[in-house]
């Protein structure tokens, strides 16, 4: 008997596409599909085997979305993004850069994602508890740095990058522990949203509510009522 596969985006059973042409729900590639779900979700073969940095780069390069939370949730449903892991550090910077590019506020080309991923990969797993700096918060600083083309010799841009990290870190610290990379990602993006609105007048108007957290059902270490995204 043919095994039933369930859509990783909506959990509905997928069925053979019978030669139908479909758009990949991650990267948008249009091709002959093998399995599609009733909601029309299809994942291309390249996205199905992609590593975490590759899927983040592909999605952020291709997306037209202006809501960073929506892009982050899509990416975090991909099996390359584990429940906990350092890939969340560069996921945060990449989704912010993708949304900023799509809003047309900064000159952001595809090399921006490469920069964000390369920088974010240097932040190790567990930096929150070991360094006192969650990588998701540093990811916000990286996004500001890449968007403003900041470096250690910059003046205002350097300060803004650090200020953005600081504000995101403060919000993540309020959640408490043990760590949850999903909650930290949401908190970092929400803090970034306030920061960009105040400093640059950019409004991520369609910021999706991450409540209730989609991932709580799959997280054995969920903080439950202690987490602001649980309900």
């Amino acid at each position: 008997m043919e095994e039933t596969f369930y859509c990783i985006l909506c959990k509905k059973p997928m069925s053979p596409a019978l030669g139908r042409i479909a758009d990949c729900s991650f990267c948008g590639k249009r091709e002959r599909a093998d399995y599609v779900c009733p909601s029309g979700h299809y994942i291309c073969e390249d996205c199905r085997i992609a590593s975490s940095d590759r899927i983040i780069k592909k999605v952020c390069e291709a997306t037209q979305e202006t809501d960073p939370i929506k892009i982050a949730i899509l990416l975090m449903k991909h099996p390359a993004i584990q429940m906990f892991g350092p890939e969340h550090h560069y996921l945060v910077s990449s989704v912010l850069l993708a949304a900023l590019r799509n809003l047309g506020n900064f000159e952001i080309d595809n090399s921006a994602f490469e920069k964000a991923i390369t920088r974010g990969k240097r932040i190790p797993l567990g930096s929150c508890g070991l360094w006192g700096a969650c990588g998701a918060a540093v990811g916000v600083g990286i996004a500001v740095s890449v968007a403003t083309k900041s470096s250690w010799t910059s003046d205002k841009e350097r300060s803004l990058s650090m200020q953005a990290t600081c504000e995101a870190l403060s919000e993540i610290a309020k959640i408490g522990g043990s760590r949850c990379c999903k909650a930290s990602t949401f908190a970092a993006i929400e803090a970034a949203s306030k920061f960009f609105e105040r400093e640059f007048g950019i409004n991520f108007t369609s910021l999706t509510s991450p409540h209730p957290c989609y991932f709580k059902a799959y997280n054995d270490e969920c903080l439950r009522d202690k987490c602001p995204y649980f309900k």
Partner: protein, 355 residues
């Protein structure tokens, strides 16, 4: 009502076979072929390394050669290097620990299981009039350690394998294990050292069995090794305990259940066309190997429970998942093919070589 355990009184003259037998007993228990088991045994002069001990750094090899001391590595989750000889009484508990929980007050996972077993050993020693006591880390007479163990866990199943120093030659013990280990260890003792005379091994065995019966509320039925256990012990000796790859380099083959060769196939979810083709090839080249080979298809992102409540997964598969190596074929815990579809001939050969 007390629980019935199997009692094995089986000793091999070869330390490597003795430790292969321990693993065979454990595997048999955890797949449900045999009941909870206690093995009491003796063996010639041997240094036992834990899975994490250093073959080069922790042993005095010249002394081992001089005194004809064998060296073997135990499969263990934790534990420290130790020595035993014919004056030691070795024990192997292969048990489902879910039974232990009602025997323990203030239950703490892992530590309580060790503690209750050590208490049963200490209770046996009381019969010799010594002040024996136990905690999760060992059995002591006053503050001197008399027993050592290397536990191994598989979900709720525990293999608690160790030694009780009855008449152990502790001078030789200190000759063959590097001094820095003694700096970490509390002082060692033996029952004969405490009593000032040798203790007949039969008396020690009887006392130990009585202590275990009383503390763990079990009774014993004497048995011998099953044919399956003997066959598996031979295989484990051949591919693991008899080899330097394990004893020296600590690299072990990954086997499923009662020693089946494991073929793990790591694919995308849903499988891509390349993944589907690979799955078909693996299926076709293993059709006639049923009973000898276990094929497990692991789909990325589906979690460890995709193969039931107590699945076995190799470290190589975990590594492939972490590095996003898709598709991949892992045979007996070694990554053999990655990112492409091997020919039927090459795949078949790799599997047959691993049998």
């Amino acid at each position: 009502m007390s629980k019935s355990w199997r009692l094995l009184d089986y000793s091999s003259k070869d330390p490597k076979m003795d430790w292969a037998v321990n693993e065979a007993i454990f595997r048999s228990r955890r797949v449900g072929l045999t009941p909870d088991t206690l093995r009491l045994w003796q063996g010639p002069n041997t240094v036992v390394l834990s899975a994490h001990s250093s073959y080069e750094g922790d042993i005095k090899h010249e002394a081992c050669r001089k005194y004809d001391v064998g060296i073997v590595r135990a499969t263990s989750t934790t534990g420290d290097i130790f020595y035993y000889d014919m004056g030691s009484l070795n024990f192997t508990f292969a048990v489902d620990t879910s039974y232990f929980k009602h025997l323990i007050k203030n239950y703490q996972p892992v530590l309580s299981e060790y503690e209750v077993i050590n208490e049963s050993i200490a209770k046996g020693l009381h019969r010799f009039g010594v002040n024996s006591k136990a905690d999760a880390y060992g059995v002591y007479i006053d503050d001197r350690r008399i027993s050592e163990a290397m536990p191994l866990w598989f979900y709720d199943f525990l293999l608690f394998q160790g030694t009780l120093h009855i008449n152990t030659n502790l001078n030789l013990y200190e000759e063959v294990i590097r001094t820095r280990h003694f700096e970490k260890k509390v002082a060692l003792t033996s029952l004969s050292r405490e009593l000032g005379k040798d203790v007949p091994m039969d008396e020690a065995k009887k006392a130990l069995l009585q202590g275990i019966k009383e503390r763990l509320n079990v009774n014993f039925v004497e048995h011998s090794l099953t044919d399956d256990e003997q066959n598996l012990a031979q295989k484990l000796y051949r591919i693991k305990y008899g080899l330097n790859k394990w004893n020296v380099d600590a690299k072990e083959p990954f086997l499923i259940g009662m020693g089946k060769t494991a073929v793990e196939v790591f694919v995308a979810y849903p499988p891509t066309s390349m993944c589907r083709k690979l799955m078909d090839i693996v299926k076709s080249v293993t059709l006639d190997l049923e009973g000898k080979v276990e094929v497990m298809i692991w789909m990325r992102g589906r979690g460890i429970q995709q193969h039931g409540p107590r699945p076995e997964m190799s470290n190589a598969l975990r590594d492939a998942e972490k590095r996003h190596v898709i598709p991949a074929v892992i045979i007996n815990g070694e990554l053999k093919f990655q990112g492409f579809i091997p020919s039927r001939e090459n795949l078949r050969k790799a599997i047959l070589d691993a049998l």
